[in-house]
């Protein structure tokens, strides 16, 4: 395990050495640019129209979850029809079942020492 830790440190040293050199190269190249961007180049545009900054971000729920919700919509629908009743105590039963399953897996894997 100690050997792996040493190798991780070596890899990190290598990684950050390259990163620092490239970052300095980036700063040098940037300083040598023939002109600095000004005016309209610095404002946000979308499809040729100016765009307010507050609208230029997307709700995080639509970033990641939306694709999966669409992809597994039929599976979600089937699960909902089969298991969802809308009664809180039913939900609690499912939570106990889930907890029991987790405990079973933990015990069968050797348990907590």
């Amino acid at each position: 395990m100690m050997q792996l830790l040493i190798e991780v440190l070596k890899a990190s040293a290598s990684m950050f050495t390259v990163a620092i050199i490239l970052y300095l190269l980036y700063l040098y190249a940037r300083s040598k640019a023939p002109r600095k961007p000004i005016g309209d180049k610095l404002s946000i545009y979308a499809c040729g129209e100016s765009y307010p900054e507050r609208k230029a971000s997307v709700a995080d729920v639509n970033l990641f979850v939306a694709v999966w919700k669409n992809l597994f919509r039929s599976l979600y629908g089937r699960l909902r029809e089969g298991f969802h009743t809308g009664i809180l105590s039913d939900w609690l039963v499912w939570m106990y079942v889930f907890l029991a399953l987790m405990l079973f897996i933990l015990v069968s894997a050797g348990g907590v020492p």
Partner: protein, 340 residues
Amino acid sequence: MEALQLLVETLVYPGLVFSLIAILLTQWYVRKLYARMQNRVGPLHTGPSGLLQPLADFLKLMFKEDVVVKGAGDKLTAGLLTVSIGAILAILLMTPLAIPLRSITGWYVVIKADFDVVLALYLLVWPTVALALAGFLSPNPFSIVGGSRVFSLTIAYELAFALSILTPVALTSLLYGAGYSIYASSISSWRLWLHPYTACLTALALATALISLQCKLMEKPFDIPEAETEIVAGPFTEYSGPKLALIILLHDLELYVGAALITFLFLGGPAPFFKPLWASALTFLVKYVIVVSVLTAIKAAVARFRVDQALLLFWRYVLPLALLALIFSMASPLLAAQVF
């Protein structure tokens, strides 16, 4: 002394300088081959047969003005990209690519420990995260949608790629005592092709690794995050000048390191010609070029998938096949007594 050796290997061979030359040549080859497949000539004028065109493109972008729109991440994006380039280059120190250095200087450093495959898989994720975050750091809906597409695809292909990489590593570790080390697995992976059972598993994992790498590189048919007809250039819409040069550099390095890793882990690197040095280098080069050619041929031959089609392809076919190859690989010691 070891620190100096590590520094030389990081910066010269097989690290930064050698990799820059290798990716420029690889990029020239990819552009030529891709152009020929589309009945074009590709780069022609800069250098002999356009050999210096990728270098000219890189230098041109590097010294252009760096436009940072209002509200965008500036130095953080550049920092993310450079750290990711460092991460992907560090993987090269885990492969036997530095072996020729030993024959010339008498020394070389290698990152080698049992279970270091975990470190390699971790370092391989850095570029993906950097490219997605580069999209999120731009105040542009196209960039953010592109970044979200990168993350959505990541869940599918990173897992498949990791499982594919683990298959030859597990096989060589269980059968030849490679200890789940990238270096040791690369040395003995050619022996996997000698028996039909391990050869079938390696071939299956090779196929899934190539498809996953194609998706990781965001090349057709998986160029969904930067689909120009839908979302301009996805996460890279707002980038120009030196930052775009770093993004292109990171992408080309991913291709180079990914193809080199596949050549070592699945195709045995320089095997069967380990000596003399020129023969082993030539054998490795031929295998590397074959891997790059296959990836380029896929890119030239197929059209882009929709995001849901790509995800379903991975979850229905690529991921189960990669998992199957790994499960049967883990069972190989049980069969070893009878078949090996």
